[in-house]
Each structure stands twice: as C-alpha cells, then as structure tokens.
Symmetry: C2
Subunit: 265 residues, 2 copies
DNA sequence: GGGTATTTGTCCGTATGTATT
DNA sequence: AAATACATACGGACAAATACC
C-alpha cells in the first residue's frame, strides 16, 4: 500500500469537499496562500493539486479573482431518432430540469460558405473520391444565446451544377436545405445515419464554447440518404460534452423521464 | 496580439511535430534534458509543455523510460439502433479498419450481483421511488481480451419475488436476461431508449481501461420497455471515448462506410 | 542479484508578470 | 495606485521506475 503523493492527497481532499457539498458549485476555494497554510505544503504543490482538479473540469481558476467550483449548465438533451423531414432547427431539444423552464429558443449564425477539397471522412461518407470539391456550409448554433454547437454541412459540388445554386449563398435557406434539394433536384431524405465520436476540443472550439483547453466534445457525423440510398449531405456537428446529451429511441417507447443524476460517490 | 507563454509555444511545436508525422505514433520524444537544450528552457517549463500534451492524450510518459506519442487503438463501432431481441453480446460491434481484420470476439466476466437502494437516475428510469431496492448485475466486457466496457444492469426487486430468481445468481444467464424475463414473467422487450452522456472517468474505470486519470468516457443509459411501455431494465454501460464510437440509423440507410479520419490539421 | 546510469515524478524555494478589484 | 490572486519561469534536491552491465 504505497502512500499517495502529497498533491494527489490534497486534490482528493478537495474533491471530496466538492462532492459532499462542503464546497458548493460556484463557491470560491481558499486562495493558494490559504491552502498552503491549511495543508502545510509549498505553493507549487498546491498548484499541482489545483491543476489536477482543474483539468478534470471540477474547478476553474480566474486570475486576479480566485478559484471556483465549476457550475454545470443545465444540459441540452437532443433526440437523434426523430422522423426525417419533420424537424427544424432546435426542435428535438429538451432540457433536464423542467422546473420553471420557459420555452428556450434555438438560433444560429448566418452560414459561412466555402468550396473545399473533401477530407477523407467527408469524402467517404459522401461516396466521392478524396479531394473532390464539395460545398461546406458552417454555422454557429446557440440556445438562448448560449453557445450550443458548431455545425458544418457538406454537399456534393454536383448539386450546384445541377441547379441548387442557393447552397452557395451565405444566407439561411429558410425553407430548409432538405426541402430545397427536394424542390430543385427531386431528392428527398429517406433516412440518415449518425456516427457519434468524442475527442478533445481544438482552440477554436475552446474559444467559442468557452471551455477549458483540454475538455472534450462530441463530434456527430450525420449522413443523410435519398430515396436511392445515396448520400445527399454530410453534417458534422460539434457539441461540448459538458452541456449536451443524446437520446436514441428504438421500437415502442414512452416519453422520457428527465432526471438529474445524483452527485457521484 | 500578446505573445504566448513559453511552455505553450513548446507544446504547440511538439503538437505540430506529432500531427505532421515528424513524431510518429509510438515513437519516443526527446528526453526532458534534450528538450531543455533544444528549447533553452528550464526543466519545469519543459514539463509544463509535456503535461499539457499529456493531459490531452497526445503523449504519455513512462517513468524511467521516456515520453511517447500515444497510439490509438482501432475503434470499436457499436450500432445502437439494432432491432430488439436479435442481439447477443458483442453483436452490433464492428471495426474501423477492415484490413486483415479477423473476426474479433467479445467476452465478459461473470457478473457481480448486488441488491442496492436505487440511485436517483436509476430509480427515475425504472419508475420506482428513489431508494427502492433493485438488483444490480455488473460485468466487465472485453473484445479480444482488450477492456471494452463496464456494464451494470438494474432490475426491479419485484421481478425476484415474482419468480425470476436467476437474476440473483452470480452467473451468466445463457439464454439472455430478456429471454429469461419473457419465459418467467411474460415480459417481452418492445423497445428501448439509449441516453448518451459523457463524463471524466473515475479511478476504477481508469484502472480497468488503463487510461489516463482525466480522460473521458461515454456513459450510456439503456432503458428497456415491455409491451405495456413499462421499464423492465436499466443498463448503464461505460465506454472509454478513445476506443469507442456509436452509430444510430434512422429510416432507410445503406451499410456504413467505415473510414479512418485523417489527422487533424 | 547488485550496482549504476538514465529518465521521469515529487517537492521545495524564489522572482516576476498579469489580471482583477 | 495599491493590494490581491493566479500565471509563468527559473533554480535545486531527492525519490522511484526502468534498463543495462
């Protein structure tokens, strides 16, 4: 039974205080100088302990102000298995806490449109050779002004030459891109596949979502298929894991019971 | 444009070398002493840079040996929207790389059975009052001997008193628990809901999966419903995000295209 | 097994910079 | 401007794990 290093012991002690509520979410931890006296350790050792908890997202440090227990936002719950075609932006999103929850509103930035050579993953999903030109439409999405997700949709360049010219416009397609493709090209969405992965965020995402540099995000690849089972669109959406959850319904299921988890033991 | 701190510059430089392949996966980084000369920085500054990459999972340090670029295992891809009843253990799992992929085999430990007071999340999903006694069956699951997931299923205690006594036995229910409940209690699974979340791993999970202390895991809550839409089982499965991905199919979709992502820019 | 060199881990001290109040 | 609190960067000393002879 080897003894744990001092900084880990301190981290464990603080973690317990956070979990049992001695240190409530949002409250300030003792300053480094105080902790130093409290545990009779050097400042660097205290900082190692704090860094450990900080990198796990339990606490966050604010220069000049202090160290605080992280407050977790009320998670957004997104239903992945909705019926195709009947969803518009932000629909399918619900919230864990229903107490006093006025209806929240999703919004998005006007799209950034680019023509790119398709990355390997995108090309494979669109079933085009890697490096093929594709149209990319990128949007920032918010819920009640809170950064929610970053979404990029990819369409085959061929759709443009076949007449779906509005895909190149840096403006919302009010009627919905799927509807528009149906009108212009006779394509309709008969199904889609979501591919859910997780990874650490990059610096763009870190800045947009205002999350610590090493926190993780969901990256969901949605491939939409037309009536001939050909891919018509690939949408990559990045969700920070601290505020997003997903629901998948299979078969005959009732309405979900929304419930907060109890604090981990 | 403020200049970045030295340790972050060093981290960035090393990150680039990892991404562009100068430092290949599995290869050893220069030692701290070498890096110190290379960047003309103190050992602690080098260590701060290394820690930054280490906490992001890009590199891992092995005491007495050196620092190495992380090798990522071939991800397991799990299909969440399979038809109920037709799945046994490990089915629905495929692999990204198909090159020379002999059929891999899933296995699991014999279950650990406990009777517990239901946590809030479990109770809400089973639709019983919090604190109600429930049967918990916990198993470690492997693929080709590689730790894959940790699974705990919860059943209402009432099932035992109604005769499904084998739920209390610490042994596999060969025929499958769902089938068994059908035979004994006339319950059959008409649907399920998966609730996908992510969080940082705890120390048990860290040890079992052999992952760094602050890496994240998927936590999937699967609630199974019977013909009357009543919950009959809640299964909580923990998957490390570094080796697991999920697929959700909706509507009419073709077979997936498995494809590795290209290295992030 | 033992001894030694190498490499990372822990812990301390100090000085200075930057952000906030 | 001054005080407070965290961030960066340097230095040193010893411990623990590993590899090699």
């Amino acid at each position: 039974m080897a003894e744990q290093p001092l900084y880990q012991q301190i981290a464990e002690d603080l973690r317990k205080q956070i979990h049992d509520g001695t240190l409530a979410p949002g409250s300030q931890l003792p300053t480094e100088t105080d902790l130093r006296k409290q545990y009779d350790a050097s400042r660097n050792t205290i900082r190692d302990a704090v860094k450990r908890l900080s990198s796990q997202g339990l606490i966050e440090t604010r220069p000049g102000r202090g160290t605080f227990v992280t407050t977790r936002p009320d998670p957004f719950v997104f239903v992945l298995t909705a019926q195709p075609g009947q969803l518009s932006v932000g629909e399918g999103v619900t919230y864990l806490s229903t107490v006093g929850a006025e209806k929240r509103k999703a919004s998005m930035s006007t799209p950034t449109v680019e023509v790119q050579a398709a990355r390997t993953v995108i090309a494979a999903r669109l079933r085009v050779p890697p490096g093929t030109q594709v149209v990319s439409r990128h949007q920032e999405r918010f819920i009640d002004g809170f950064p929610w997700s970053l979404q990029t949709s990819f369409y085959p360049m061929e759709f443009i030459t076949r007449g779906a010219i509005r895909l190149l416009m840096a403006e919302d397609i009010e009627v919905g891109a799927v509807q528009y493709l149906g009108d212009m090209l006779g394509l309709s969405q008969f199904g889609y596949r979501d591919w859910i992965t997780a990874r650490t965020c990059d610096s763009n995402e870190q800045a947009f979502f205002r999350i610590p540099h090493d926190s993780t995000v969901f990256e969901v690849f949605r491939t939409a298929f037309d009536q001939k089972k050909n891919p018509m669109r690939v949408t990559v959406t990045v969700f920070p894991t601290d505020r997003n959850q997903f629901i998948v319904n299979v078969g005959d299921v009732p309405e979900p019971e929304y419930s907060q988890d109890d604090p981990p033991a």
